[in-house]
């Protein structure tokens, strides 16, 4: 079988030259730094964070050089490979440790190292040992450890996107999972952090199992795991296998990217330090699922059903993410659900196939900027507010932290798709492409995406209003540690990255869509961007409708929150939207009955499901395993005779099973 497979000509990918031959530095720099920081111990306390930053900035420089080199080459010459060494080679199985430098991976390299550099720099300030507000129990060793782990993450993430085969991808996949686990549980003294880390780990492993199975399937059916060869032979797969591979990969993507039904770990992951939330759980790692689908575009191109399930997952996720985002008071949780929802847009984009790969990736890119900026802004707010995350304790902060406010505002406007900011260019095109799908699909997908855009505008406006406008509710309060709040602007080492990201949030979208810059850059990898046609909703209406819905979202948020004081304590027993809706909208009884009530119920139901259903499932699984373990270990009574009894029982069962299997069936 393998001989005939090998006979099929696979286009030979040229080896990397010039700067490309140095691409291993990308991975080596942060890896080395991480190893040094892990092993150096106390000695590195004073300079550890600097080394951590320098390595990522260095990697960014290499990435820029690579990008420049690729840019100067002809589009069909931009894909190169850099074989480092033969990793596993036995019989038919051949796995190289080789880097694949192509437009897709380079785009990710720039994002990871670029945003990564900014967040590393920001972390110097955020994790500073002497700041009064950067979390409990900080001291130098924890900062060094933080940078070691953050560098480990960057290494793994770069391997994930740079590998030229699925096994290397899996290596990075596991690596980022591990780093993410460690970083979520960074504040070891908080039980909730440990729980969140555990949950993230478990749900990620569920996804990993899917990815591993998909890789095994590809390997057994194609005899190779290298991208170029797998993609060249996709035609040899039967439709059943093809769909199974698509579905299993999607499972992996769902686990890593926090997509339905494995979304619940992502909001909990906000237990980690805020820079981690910005880098890992907003800009890079959680987009690995999108990367996976985009990377495997030849596989998904071959399976319409495979694409369909991707879009379905995307649509469901973007809706529930947006709805649940309306319900939280925790600033980071709102942003986290927003991330879930935005990644849903990306999944929807890449699930559209050739019509959407570039769009999904563009949104990934712009989202990387503005969501990282928003998280850093949230971190800055928390930094000034004694690490409080409850928006109800904020209010009127714009006067106290102006830089944070304006950078945050830029990210906010970009996210809700304010015209000519980056979100406008990237999100609206996905909505348009989705709406342009033929038949009911366009209607459903486009409609859902537009609705979610309105919801996005609502919850983000609410967040901004509650944080930066209105009464200074914190004046009469004390933090959990009993201290008064003294909001203040963050140091320059934190604000500068925020400013840079804000500039990116404003301008990136325009630049990337100029002459379809990103789309044509990505063409060698994901193919030509194809316009889809045949949607039931006219394209012009989609754009206008999205804008109108967003404006309506902003307006409603202003009416509900901006015009009236926000209770400091979340009203009980009814949740605040109900009360707010009753007070402000009761005149419009029909409106309430038809729209607000069901909306609120849906919202509550989803929050309930999310908290009780998925959380319950995960925690239940953990409890089941733990409890099962506790019960099962009681079988290990310590009595030799019990053990012998168990052995005899096992033996009798085996004899009986063998005899029954052999004879019971026949005679």
């Amino acid at each position: 079988m393998s001989a005939s497979l090998l006979a099929t000509a696979v286009e030979q990918i040229p080896a990397a030259t010039g700067v490309g031959a140095k691409a291993w530095l990308l991975v080596a720099l942060p890896a080395l730094s991480s190893a040094v920081l892990f092993l150096a111990g106390r000695r590195a306390n004073t300079w550890g964070h600097l080394l951590g930053c320098a390595s990522v900035v260095g990697a960014f420089a290499v990435g820029v050089a690579l990008f420049a080199q690729a840019l100067s080459a002809a589009p069909d010459q931009r894909t190169t490979e850099l074989p480092l060494f033969s990793w596993i080679s036995v019989g038919a199985l051949h796995v190289d440790f080789a880097l694949r430098l192509d437009p897709l991976s380079l785009a990710f390299v720039l994002l990871i190292t670029g945003v990564g550099s900014l967040i590393h720099i920001y972390s110097i300030g955020y994790m500073a040992p002497h700041g009064q507000a950067s979390g409990a129990g900080h001291s130098d060793p924890s900062r060094r450890r933080f940078f070691a782990q953050l560098n480990l993450f960057v290494t793994a993430m770069l391997l994930l996107v740079l590998g030229n085969n699925f096994v290397l991808l899996y290596l990075g996949w596991e690596g980022v999972g591990l780093a993410s686990y460690l970083l979520i549980g960074f504040y070891q003294d908080r039980p909730s952090a440990a729980t969140a880390a555990k949950k993230a780990f478990l749900m990620n492993r569920v996804g990993d199992v899917g990815l591993a199975l998909a890789i095994f399937l590809l390997w057994t059916h194609l005899g190779t795991v290298q991208y170029s060869q797998v993609f060249a032979r996709v035609g040899q797969l039967t439709p059943g296998v093809l769909f199974a591979v698509c579905a299993l990969m999607l499972l992996g993507a769902c686990g890593k990217s926090g997509q339905f039904p494995l979304q619940a770990w992502l909001p909990d992951a906000m237990e980690g330090p805020t820079p981690v939330s910005a880098l890992i759980h907003a800009a890079t790692m959680v987009t690995a699922g999108v990367y996976l689908v985009a990377r495997c575009n030849p596989i998904y191109d071959a399976s319409a059903n495979g694409r369909l399930i991707v879009t379905l997952v995307g649509v469901i996720t973007l809706l529930i993410g947006a709805i649940i985002g309306c319900a939280y008071d925790d600033i980071k949780k709102v942003l986290a659900y927003s991330t879930v929802s935005q990644i849903g847009y990306m999944m929807l984009g890449v699930g559209l196939g050739p019509a959407g790969y570039a769009l999904g990736l563009m949104h990934l890119y712009t989202h990387g900027f503005f969501k990282a900026g928003l998280f850093l802004g949230a971190g800055s707010v928390m930094h000034g507010m004694n690490d409080d995350v409850d928006m109800r304790h904020y209010g009127g902060l714009r006067a106290y932290m102006p830089i944070t406010f304006y950078t945050f505002l830029a990210g906010y406007l970009a996210l809700i798709g304010f015209p000519f900011l980056s979100g406008y260019y990237s999100k609206d095109v996905i909505i348009e492409a989705a709406a342009a799908q033929p038949g009911w699909r366009g209607l459903v997908m486009g409609g859902a995406a537009m609705l979610a855009a309105g919801l996005t505008a609502f919850y983000m406006t609410r967040l901004v209003l509650m944080t930066f406008f209105g009464e200074k509710r914190w004046q009469n309060l004390r933090g959990v540690d009993g201290k008064e709040y003294h909001p203040h602007e963050s140091p320059a080492v934190m604000t500068v990255p925020m400013i840079i990201l804000a500039v990116g949030s404003v301008g990136a979208g325009f630049l990337l869509q100029l002459n379809h810059a990103l789309a044509s850059w990505l063409t060698p990898t994901v193919g030509e961007l194809r316009e889809s046609e045949g949607g039931l909703i006219p394209p012009s209406l989609v754009g206008v409708g999205t804008l109108l819905l967003s404006a309506a979202g902003v307006l409603i948020a202003y009416l509900l929150i901006g015009r009236r004081p926000t209770p400091v304590v979340r009203p009980e027993p009814v949740s605040w939207p109900v009360r707010a809706a009753r007070r402000d909208l009761y005149a419009n009884a029909i409106n309430e009955a038809l729209i607000a009530r069901p909306g609120i119920w849906l919202c509550r139901a989803l929050v309930y499901l999310d908290n009780k259903g998925v959380d319950g499932l995960v925690n239940g699984t953990a409890a089941l395993l733990g409890g099962g373990s506790g019960q099962l270990r009681r079988l290990q009574t310590g009595f030799v005779r019990s053990y012998a009894l168990g052995m005899l029982g096992g033996g009798v069962l085996i004899i009986a099973a063998l005899l029954i299997l052999r004879f019971g069936i026949q005679s």
């Binding site: 070891q188 440990a194 555990k198 409890a623 733990g626 009595f639 005899l648 029982g649 009798v652």
Partner: protein
């Protein structure tokens, strides 16, 4: 029944069971079975050993009936004569008076054992009967009939076909000898054993000549943990027991912070630690 008659039965033919052998089987078999059952049910360990010896003797006779005279004698002389006596010897040394109590400590153990035992018998009997009742045995007439007989034929096999396992058993025997020494033979002390004279000198030149005061003398309780009191009411330091005092009364290990990543709660972990620590065995 004499062994000669059994050997007679063994020499004349091959497989089919003759009448004399059948009679022998129906006498010896039940006796072996009785020996086995007696071993399991005898409460005294020594009785168990004797019952087992009975079973083994009968088995030896059954070997002879089955054209295996050499094995039969080895069984009786080596197994019953030597190995079982070794058992008895050790039993006399260590476990003679420890009759098993009637109460079963592990819940459901006897019932489960009986059920599994019966199940096992049923499976084995079923498969053996199904496989073999219709098979005609070939018999060892030919194999044992070589000029030098059963023993030489066995020896021939041992040194040709089974040469390697035979050599390998030497490793086993050396291990056994080494192990017995290692486990049970207390070596000479590294310090010279002190004689009577040295002991006397040590005592007379030591701090105290008289015996140590017993616990509880002049005290309000007769527990060994209660120190003796001197006439002035103070505690007699010599009466403090070293063993009891050096061991903290309840010694929970200094617990490290509860492992937040464990899947069980703190109380669970604590109970583990207690139960996995060494409790006094009743």
């Amino acid at each position: 029944m004499s062994t000669a008659a059994l050997a007679q039965a063994a020499t004349d033919n091959g497989g089919p069971v003759g009448l004399s052998e059948a009679i022998a089987f129906w006498i010896l078999g039940p006796m072996a079975l009785a020996g086995a059952l007696g071993m399991v049910f005898a409460r005294n360990a020594v009785h168990s050993a004797l019952w087992l010896a009975l079973a083994m003797l009968n088995l030896g006779a059954l070997y002879m009936a089955q054209q295996a005279p050499f094995l039969g004698f080895v069984q009786i002389i080596v197994y019953t004569g030597a190995v079982m006596m070794l058992f008895l010897f050790v039993l006399m040394l260590v476990g003679r008076d420890s009759s098993d109590s009637v109460v079963e400590a592990i819940k459901g153990q006897r019932l489960a054992a009986a059920v599994l035992g019966i199940g096992f018998v049923a499976l084995m009997v079923g498969s053996l009967a199904r496989a073999l009742f219709s098979v005609t045995p070939i018999g060892l007439g030919a194999a044992n009939g070589v000029p030098s007989g059963n023993v030489a034929a066995l020896g021939r096999l041992l040194f040709t076909q089974y040469l390697f396992p035979f050599e390998l058993t030497s490793a086993l025997l050396i291990t056994a000898a080494l192990g017995a020494m290692l486990m049970t033979f207390p070596h000479t002390r590294t310090t010279a054993k002190s004689g009577q004279r040295a002991t006397v000198e040590a005592r007379l030149r030591g701090a105290r000549v008289s015996p140590l005061p017993g616990p509880g003398v002049f005290a309000t309780a007769n527990s060994v943990a209660t120190p003796a009191l001197l006439p002035d009411g103070s505690v007699a330091p010599e009466s403090l027991s070293e063993i009891i005092e050096t061991v903290p009364p309840s010694a929970p290990a200094p617990l490290a912070p509860v492992d937040a990543h464990a899947l069980v709660g703190a109380d669970h972990a604590k109970s583990d630690r207690i139960s996995s620590g060494e409790e006094a065995q009743p």
